[in-house]
Symmetry: C2
Subunit: 395 residues, 2 copies
C-alpha cells in the first residue's frame, strides 16, 4: 500500500550536504564538505571519567526518565555561563535540547503557521531552513553583505508581522562571517523598534581564533531574543546536547512542544556534559580547539592564495569552521562538484543555503577535519579545476 | 515583547501526567501515577562496562556526528530481533529514534495535514495524542472493549481516507489490555481490505508476565504497518533510544523529517544500547523485569480486591505496567485526585487519554515503582476514599 503523505512531507527533500557526505566517505576523497568538528579535539578521557563518576555515584537519575526542561544543574551552569555584568540569565529560561537542531524544530512548531513571514540571512544555515520549512513559512531573505544582514534595508512592511528573524552572528554556517559590533547594535535597534523576535543561533561563538568575543544579541535585547547554544563544537557532537534560552511565555510553549517531540534529552548525556564542564574545563579546552582551527584555516587560506585563479574571491574568517567562496560569475558550483568528486575533492555547493534566489557560483569549504598536507593537495586540485572551468566561461 | 505564536502552539497544553508528577515528588506521597519503569531493573554494571568498552576501543564514532538513520550495527540487531520465520525485517527499514516518542512526532509530521482523519483506540496513549495534535488531525475514536479496538464497527466512510490507525496492542498505556489473537487477525483483515496504514506502538510487548507473546500486527501485514519499539522498558529510559520499522517509501520521508528534528539520535547512547544487548543479554534480563512486575501487579490486585468498594471494576493485566479502573458512574477521577493527594496517594485520571468524549470515571494505576507494603497502604487509603465519595453519589 502507498500511505498518503502530508503536504509538508511531500515537499521534504534530503539535505544535499548529507547526501554528499555519503558519497565522500571514500578515503581517497579529500573532503572539505563536512561540518564535523575535528575528533582530535574530543576529550575522550574526560568523557570516560564522567561516565564512571555518574554510574558509580548516582546511576538511577542518569538512567531514568527526567524532566522535559532538562537536568537542573546543567541548566544552572548554562544560565551562569551566559550571565554577564548587565544581563542575568534565569535557569528557568533555559531548555536543554537534543542538539541545537531540535531548538530549530521547536521554534518552527511554536512560531510558524503556513505562510508566516520568517526573515533569514542571505545565505543562511541549511538545517534551519529544513526545520522551519516543515511549517511552510514564507521566507524573506534579508539583504546581507560581508558584515552580515542589513535589517535596515527592509521596509516597515517586511518587518511588521514577521514571526521572527533567524540569525547566526558568529562565524556563520555557511559563510564564516561574523557580524561586527556596530552592525549588531543597529540590528538590535531595528528589532526592538519593530517588536521583532530574533532567533540568535550561536554554536560557533566560542571559536574566535583570537579568543575575543562580541556581545551577543541576547545581551543587547534580552526580551527580543531566543538564544541557541550547543556543546557540539566545544565538547563533542555525538552526545547531542544543545540548549535554548527564551523569554518565559515562549519558553513554556517550547517545553510543551519538546514534551511531544522526545519527552526529554537523554538524562545520561546531559549529566556527562555537566560532569565534563562543571569545573571550568572548557576554559582550558576551547583555546586548544581555537588554535587547531586557526592553524588549519591559515593553511587553507594560504593554499587558496597560491592555487585559486583570478576571478575567485573568498573571506578570511576570524573564527569557526568555514570559508565561503565566490566563483567567477556564471560558474555553477553544483556542476563543479560533480567534476571535483571525479578528482577526489569535495565541498558543499552554496545554492541550498539560500532561502530564495540562490547564488549558484558560491561554495562552502571546511578545513577543520583535514590535515594540512591534504588541505594543500585538495586546494591545489580544486584550484586547477576551477582554472580549467574558467576558460570556457564568457566573462 | 509578546511573540506571535503559531495556531498549534496556542492550542498546546502541558501533559496532565507530567504536572501531577511534579506535585507527587514529595516522599510522603504514595504515587501510582508514574509511568516510569522500576530503577531496580536498570543494569547499571552492564551500562558502565559498555561505556568503558566504547570509549577505550572506538571513541571517535561514539562522540562524532552520525547518520540520521542510526548506528548500522544496532539497526541490524533490531532487524534480526524482529525477523520471524515468515517475516524478514530489512535493516534498511529501521530508523533509530530519540525514544519512541520521537517516532510519534515524525509520523505526525509526515502523515497528518490539518483535518486529516486519524483513528485511535478508546482510550489511547496520551503522549501520542500530544504528538499528533501538533498537526491538528480530526480524531476518530474506534469503539473498544476489554479486548481492544473493534475496527469492524467502523463504517467504510470512517476507514476510507483515514491517514492511519494508531494502536498499542500489548498491555496498552493506559488500560493494560492486550489484544487477543482473534481480534488481531480481524483487525489485520479490515486494515488490509481498506488499505489502512496501522501504527503499532509496542513498548511493553516483552513484558508479558507468563513470557508468552502474540504475533505482532507487523508480522500479519508487513506492508500496512509502521512498528514502534523501545529500549526504555527493557533496558533503561534515560538513554532515550527507540526505533521504528517502516516500509521504504515512508521510511525515506521519516528520515528526512528526523534530520530536521535532531540530525540523529546520540551516537554514544546508540552504541551503549548495542553493547548492552548484542550478546543476548535481554533474554536473561527481561524475565527478571517480568517477574518483578508480575509480583507487584499481583499485590495491587489483591489489595484492590480487599479495599475497593462495590461499584468499582478493573482489569487483570497479563503484562506491562498499568491497571485501569472504572469508578462508580458519576464519580469524576480528576476531583477524586485532588482529595487523594490530600491523603498522600496519587494516580492518573483517565480523561486525558480519550481523544474525544472522555469517560470521567476512569483512572490509571501503575504499580511497578512502588514497594509492596506501600502498594497495600496506598490502595487501602484510595479504597476508603472512594467508598466515602460513593456515599454522596445518586446511583
Amino acid at each position: 500500500m502507498n500511505p498518503t503523505l502530508s503536504q509538508r512531507a511531500q515537499k521534504l527533500t534530503s539535505s544535499v550536504i548529507r547526501e554528499i557526505l555519503k558519497i565522500t566517505e571514500r578515503p581517497e576523497v579529500i573532503s572539505f564538505a563536512g561540518g564535523l568538528p575535528s575528533p582530535d579535539t574530543f576529550p575522550v578521557e574526560r568523557v570516560l571519567a564522567a561516565t564512571q563518576t555518574i554510574l558509580t555515584t548516582a546511576p538511577t537519575p542518569a538512567l531514568q526518565y527526567g524532566p522535559t526542561e532538562g537536568y537542573l544543574q546543567l541548566r544552572e551552569w548554562i544560565a551562569a555561563r551566559h550571565s554577564t555584568g548587565s544581563v542575568r540569565i534565569d535557569p528557568a529560561d533555559v531548555l536543554v535540547t537534543t542538539g541545537s537542531q531540535q531548538a530549530l524544530d521547536l521554534l518552527g512548531k511554536t512560531l510558524i503557521d503556513s505562510g508566516s513571514r520568517v526573515l533569514v540571512e542571505t545565505p543562511t544555515y541549511l538545517g534551519a531552513l529544513q526545520a522551519f520549512s516543515l511549517s511552510e513559512p514564507t521566507y524573506v531573505s534579508v539583504p546581507s553583505d560581508e558584515h552580515g544582514p542589513q535589517l535596515e534595508m527592509l521596509t516597515k512592511e517586511d518587518l511588521s508581522g514577521a514571526r521572527f528573524m533567524y540569525c547566526l552572528p558568529n562565524f556563520q554556517n555557511p559563510t564564516g562571517r561574523r557580524i561586527p559590533l556596530a552592525r549588531r547594535e543597529q540590528l538590535a535597534k531595528v528589532a526592538v523598534e519593530a517588536g521583532l523576535l530574533v532567533v540568535e543561533d550561536d554554536p560557533y561563538g566560542a571559536l574566535s581564533y583570537s579568543g575575543d568575543a562580541l556581545p551577543t544579541l541576547k545581551s543587547m535585547m534580552p526580551e527580543n531574543v531566543v538564544y541557541l547554544g550547543s556543546f557540539s563544537k566545544v565538547l563533542t557532537p555525538g552526545l547531542r546536547v544543545g540548549y535554548l534560552i527564551a523569554p518565559q511565555a515562549l519558553h513554556r510553549k517550547l517545553v510543551q512542544a519538546k514534551q511531544a517531540a522526545d519527552l526529554h534529552t537523554p538524562s545520561f548525556t546531559q549529566r556527562i556534559v555537566y560532569e565534563c564542564v562543571k569545573d571550568g574545563f572548557l576554559d582550558t579546552h576551547i583555546p586548544t580547539i581555537r588554535e587547531l582551527y586557526r592553524q588549519r584555516c591559515q593553511v587553507m587560506l594560504e593554499a587558496m592564495q597560491e592555487h585559486f585563479p583570478k576571478g575567485v574571491s573568498w573571506n578570511r574568517p576570524e573564527g569557526g569552521m568555514f570559508i565561503w567562496v565566490n566563483l567567477p560569475t556564471g560558474m555553477d558550483s553544483v556542476e563543479l562538484l560533480q567534476k571535483a568528486i571525479a578528482e577526489n575533492v569535495a565541498f558543499v555547493p552554496g545554492a541550498p543555503f539560500f532561502a530564495n534566489e540562490p547564488q549558484r557560483n558560491t561554495l562552502r569549504l571546511s578545513f577543520v577535519t583535514v590535515p594540512p598536507e591534504r588541505i594543500q593537495r585538495g586546494i591545489a586540485a580544486l584550484g586547477a579545476l576551477i582554472e580549467r572551468e574558467s576558460v570556457g566561461l564568457k566573462v
